[in-house]
Each structure stands twice: as C-alpha cells, then as structure tokens.
C-alpha cells in the first residue's frame, strides 16, 4: 500500500498539470468542438497578436517577475550573510511564520492603503510637511511600470525565501564556514557570498524558480496593485477567458501558451544571470577582495527586511482599522468615529465563504500531509534519497504559470462534468498545497534521529508501529506545522478556486479579490483581515496542540 504512494504523489502533482497544458494547447490551435472549433489552425495566435498592447503586457510580466525575484533574493541573502547568529536574526526568524500566513491578496490590500496618494503614509506628513491639502495626483498604486505590484510581491517573497534558506543552512554547515572565512579576513557578507552561498543556492534554487514563475503569472496581486492600462498578461488571459464572445476563449488558450513562453524566458534569463553572477564572484574572489567594509550593506539589508515585515504588519493593522472606521477623510490620521456596523452586517455573508475556505483548506492540507508522510516514510523504508527528477516533479505545479494549466484543466473538468464539484476543487488545491507541505516537512522529518526507530524495532515492534507510535508523535510539531503551511497556501489560492470552482465554491479569498477593485474599503478591510486570520489560526493550532499534548515532556518542547 505504501509502495503506491510515490506513484500516487507523482500522479497528483504531474497529472493535473499535464492535463491542463493539454487542455490549453488544443484550443490554442483552434480545436475545441464544444464551442465550434473543429479544425486545427493558427487563427487564435493571429487574433492574439492583434490584441492591443500585447507586447507591453508580456514585458510587464517578464520584468515584474525578474525584478521581484532578484530583489527578494538579494535582500534575503544580504540579511542572512550580515546578521546570522545575532539576536535580531532570531527575532526575524520568529516573524517568518506569521508573515507567511498572510495571504498575498491581504498583503497587497494592506500595501495599497499604506502607499496610495490618499493613504496612511501621505497622511502622516500632510498637510503640515508637504502642503498637500488634497492628495497628490501621482500614480502609485496601479502604476504602469508595476512598481507597486513588485513591492507587494517582494514583501511576501522575502519571508518565503527566508524560510527555505533557514531550512537549508544547517545542512551546509554555514556556521563553521563563517568562522573560516572570518579568520581569513573576509567581511561577513563577502565571506558568506564566497564561502556559503554557492552551497546554499544549490539547495534553494528550485524555490527561487518557483518564486520567479509565480511573480510572472500572479493574478490577484496584479488586480489589486498592478498596472491596468494594459494589465500584465495573466490578467488579460483571464479577461479573454470570461468574455461573452466565445471566440475569445481560443485567444485565451493561445495566450496561456504564450505565457508559458514568457515564464520560460524569465527562467532562462535568470539562469544566464546565475552564470554571470558566478563569473563575477570568481573574478572578485581571485582579485582577493575581502569586502571588509560592509557596514553600509549590512544596515541596508536589515532596513529593507525590517521594512518589508513592517509593511505587511502595518498593512493588516490599517485594514483592521478601516473595517471599524466611520467617516475617515483625508488627511485625518484616525477615523472621525468607530463603528462595528460593517462587521455586523457583513459577517453573516461571510459565513459561507469562510466555511468553504476552511473545508477546502482542511481537506487539501490533510490530504497533502498524509501523502507527504507516506512518501517520506516510503523513502525511509526503501532507503532512498530524493532524486533531482523527483524534486522537479515536486516543483512542476509551481513552475508552470497557474493561468496556463488551470485554463486547460477547466476545459477538461467541464468535459468530464467535474466542474464545480468539491472533490475536483480539493484535488486542484492539493496540487498546489502538496509541494509546500512536503517542503516544510522534509527536513525535520529526515533530521529525526533514526536510532529511535532502530531501538523501537529492537523492542520487537514492526515498521508500522514505529511510524505511528514513535516517529509521528515525536515529529508532531513539524507535521502540524507543515499541515498549517498547506492550510495557509490553500486559503490564499485565488485562481484555482475561481476557475475550477465555477462560482459554486466562493471562498474568503475570491470574495476579497471580487471586492478588490471595488470601493468599499471597510468591507475590503474586514474581508482581508478574515482572510489573514485563517492561516494564523492554523499556525496557532500547530503550536498549541503539541504544547498541550506534551506539556509534561520537556524534551518535546521546541528548541529555544
């Protein structure tokens, strides 16, 4: 039974992606009998090329993806390099989980109300410092270059990259390397970059690719913060897909294939960038540059990373404030009055989306955790080590732009009469949740002292008893944390719920984004807050349950 798990996991991950790509490829070439497309042709691509501003949309997706990833990566590396081992670093480590649990859409809203011309930051300094009696007519949110969108993505990708880096650090003996490079006279950052980074980067390469692919193709953050004239490619594909003129569906499918190419190009450019950086580092190294004078860079790194954490937290706070605000005019720092009106009136309406989100989240995260445990246990028993092929399979759903294969998957599901079914929706969520759950669980699972297992077997217990009675209880905290990560990912999923759910399963996230471009900031605030609280509840549970279960076991407490 356990033997089936790796094959099963493979199917769960790869199957939908391949089915989706196929489902998008055929209509892209004109073949979709359901709506009259009977012949293969290049017509849709021609129509696609005729779309106004297409090149600009593609360039937007490309640059937003590359810049977001590059900046997040540099900031995280500089921070780890410059501050590892300090109290500040440990403080930041503790913030990673809460920051991760804030869904992208909520973080984007929060950023919007912070930086918009009538937003909190401007109000802090107006009109006394700036003389702005009315908000300045500056295009900040929805700016045509996508800078606001990049910022919204960076503040979320930094905690993610920090998480994967922290998981990888112990394995590459970063501490010892640090001592060696310091004794050779290298500054903290330079020593890290030359001595540790190559090994670290090998470990986090796939997550970085995942960030890149996501940043090129994200839709919900684009709707909230991104340019609107024209929007990035993924947003336009969504618009074409929903157009009442069914001919546009072929254009949407060809657009999905185009997006594959755009994301692929971004990955290619990044790989070239890797080689260029390696070359540069080699040159610097042989030149003997020690980089001792890195104080400025260290302070810049910590400032930027603190700012990113601050933005997310401040954003959530502002949204909470908006949700209880009466009339709040510019340039007031606080509302004129407070009221619970919005909550009272909208909470009943949130019941169904909240319930749906929780049900789908629990189902997909539990399934993902079970499959992950099965895969890891199989790996243990068979004495295998993860291969590159397995890793790539794991990351495939994260490397292919969501819009590309979800569109096709939707076609397949409609054909199979599975659209709008809860099971289908949970399966699609599973595809995205599983890689993160496995990622979160793998290292703690493998780091377990196997001698406990040997001891248990010597005490005449079989492998199953070892798994259920020894390994699982001992690793309960990482298991629940991984499940909480999966839950958080599921809560934040927008496009899969929108497309595969066929409107039958509104979740708190689809609601929030539907209200996104709308005006009622108070309801948006309440929705975003609820959206952010759900994953937080998951993580709290993951902390509290083991603490409670093992309150009398000192050795089961997390290392201080």
């Amino acid at each position: 039974m356990l033997r089936l798990v790796p094959a099963g996991a493979f199917l769960v991950l790869i199957g939908p992606v391949l089915a989706g790509l196929l489902g998008a490829a055929l209509p892209a070439f004109g073949y979709l009998p359901a709506i009259g497309g009977e012949k293969l042709s290049l017509g849709p691509f021609g129509d696609l090329a005729a779309m106004p501003g297409l090149l600009r949309s593609c360039l937007l997706s490309l640059t937003i993806g590359l810049v977001t990833t590059a900046l997040s990566y540099v900031i995280v590396v500089a921070f780890i390099a410059g501050w590892r081992g300090t109290a500040l670093f440990r403080a930041m480590e503790r913030l990673v989980s809460p920051l991760l649990s804030v869904p992208h859409a909520a973080a984007a809203f929060g950023l919007a109300v912070l930086i918009m011309p009538s937003g909190f930051l401007v109000r802090l300094v107006s009109p006394w410092a700036t003389g702005w009696q009315r908000p300045p007519d500056i295009l900040i949110v929805n700016d045509p270059l996508g800078l606001a969108m990049m910022a919204g993505l960076i503040v979320k990708e930094i905690p993610f990259l920090l998480l994967v880096s922290l998981a990888a650090l112990p394995q590459i003996r970063a501490g010892q390397f640090g001592h060696v490079t310091a004794s050779l006279g290298y500054g903290r950052i330079a020593g890290f970059v030359f001595g540790v980074l190559p090994a670290l980067y090998r470990q986090i390469r796939l997550p970085v690719f995942a960030v890149l692919a996501y940043a090129t193709s994200v839709v919900d953050v684009a709707l909230i913060l991104g340019p609107t004239t024209p929007p990035p490619l993924a947003v336009r594909i969504l618009q074409w897909q929903a157009d009442p003129d069914l001919a546009m569906r072929f254009v949407a499918a060809s657009g999905a294939l185009l997006h594959l190419a755009v994301t692929g190009l971004a990955l290619l450019i990044w790989v070239f960038g890797e080689k260029a950086m390696a070359r540069l580092c080699a040159v610097l190294q042989t030149a003997g540059r020690r980089g001792r004078d890195d104080k400025v860079w260290r302070h810049l790194a910590v400032t930027l990373i603190s700012a990113s954490a601050f933005i997310v937290l401040a954003g959530i706070l502002l949204l909470a404030l908006w949700s209880i605000a009466g009339l709040w005019r510019y340039p007031d720092l606080l509302p004129e009055a407070f009221t619970l009106n919005v909550w009272v009136r909208s909470l009943p309406g949130f019941a169904v989306p909240l319930a749906n989100a929780v049900i789908i989240g629990i189902a997909s995260s539990l399934a993902a955790t079970a499959i992950a445990l099965g895969a890891l246990e199989y790996e243990s028993r068979a004495g295998l080590t993860p291969t590159i092929r397995a890793l790539v399979a794991l990351y495939l759903p994260l490397l292919v732009p969501q819009i590309a294969f979800l569109l096709g998957l939707n076609v397949v599901f409609i054909w199979a009469h599975l659209d709008g079914r809860l099971a289908a929706l949970v399966l699609v969520h599973l595809v995205f949740v599983f890689p993160y759950v496995l990622l979160s669980l793998s290292d703690p699972w493998r780091a377990w002292d196997r001698r406990y297992g040997l001891m248990a077997r010597a005490l005449r217990h079989g492998p199953d008893a070892v798994f259920w009675r020894i390994r699982l209880p001992m690793l309960l905290r990482p298991v629940l944390t991984a499940a909480a990560v999966g839950f958080a990912v599921s809560i934040g999923l927008y496009l899969p719920t929108l497309l595969i759910g066929a409107g039958r399963w509104p979740t708190i996230t689809t609601e929030a984004v539907a209200l996104a471009a709308g005006g009622n900031r108070r309801v948006i605030g309440a929705t975003a807050l609820l959206q952010a609280l759900l994953p937080f509840a998951g993580f709290t549970l993951a902390l509290v349950v083991p603490a409670l279960l093992f309150r009398d076991r000192r050795a089961m407490r997390p290392a201080a």
Partner: protein
Amino acid sequence: MSKISGMSTTNNIGAKTGLTLDKVEITLHGEPLVAANAHISPGEILTVMGPSGSGKSILLAYVAGFLDPVFSATGRIRLNGLDVSDLPPERRGMGLLFQDPLLFPHLSVGGNMMFGLAPAIKGHAARREAVEAALRHVGMGDFFDRDPATLSGGQRARVALMRTLLSRPEALLLDEPFSNLDTARRGQVRERVFAEARQLGLPVLLVTHDVADAKAAGGPCIELA
C-alpha cells in the same frame, strides 16, 4: 540478584545455544570491511574492539538487521538454533543498547517501558505490574509517570536497560553503551548490565573502544584493524 518475574527467556522453539556469527563478511563496493566468525554462548560476552571507522558498529548493525543497503554482506546469524539472517529486526529478538539511552521523549518512563514490554504478558493490570516490578528492581519504584527528560544520566541508563530486558530479548547487542556516562557511573551501569545478561543467560555482543569494558566483560575479544 533475584530473578524478575516475567523476564525468563526460555525459547519455545529450541534450546538455548547462543548467538552464532557464521562466516560473516561485510564489504563496501567490493572492498572488504569487516569479517567475523564466532559463537557466543548464553551468558557469555563477546567484545569487538577497534578504532572508529573500523566497522565494528556495522557488524553490530548486520547482526541486528539494520545494515545500510549500501553495504553487501554474506554469512549467517543464528540465535538459539534459529537462522535469523533473513528476518526483519523486530523478529530477531535482539535487544539493543546504544550510547544514548534513547528514551522516547514523548512517553513517560512507564510508557517507555510498556512500549518495550513483550506482548506475551496480557491484560493492563499484569502489564503495569511487570513494569513496576522492573522499576523497583533498579530502585526507581515510583518513577512510572516521570518525564524521561528529568532523569539523571544513570537513571536513564537503568530505564533503557530495563526497557530492553522487558522485551524478553534472546541476545543483547551493545554499541558503546557506557561511553556517554561519567567514570563513576560507568562502572556501576556496566556491572548491572553484565550481571543481568549473565543471570538471564543472554549471549552479549559488545562493541567498544574502551579496554576497561573488555576487561570487565571477561569474555573473548575480537580486535578489528
């Protein structure tokens, strides 16, 4: 020392003949690593000595059934007349003691012992009594509900030993079990382990780099290169 009820080790199948390592040879990528051909009588202690990296722990792993698949091994292991070479570890009946007592941190002291207790003893009351008796035997009679993390090094070693013995092993495999203890404690624990093994008539395979252990064992000794 009095015999502990529930800890007799009469083998249903055959007579107690001891533990035999029959022409055991372990290689890694064709390179020979360690070889042993020995018989350990009941109550006898075979000491395997050698510097770190000489493969002594690998030999022990093979006997216990945990050999890493990267190694290849030939030779048979027989315990009390039964060829256990192809059996999974949990069916071999070999008690194991490591350097660290490896008490399961999520279970109480009593919970650890209950986990080890052989299934032959049925009924909650009888099982609890067996564990309590074992704890009294080592002078830790009221430690059932204690958190293993609150025990001293010596106490942990005693609990680990009792847990192993409660599983009614037919042999004992010791992988440097005393090296983590301070010198004062070391002798006591070592004596206790050897005495129990002798009394229960268990063949013992001891892997160590400490000459004092070999001397106290008083049995044959294999030196690995």
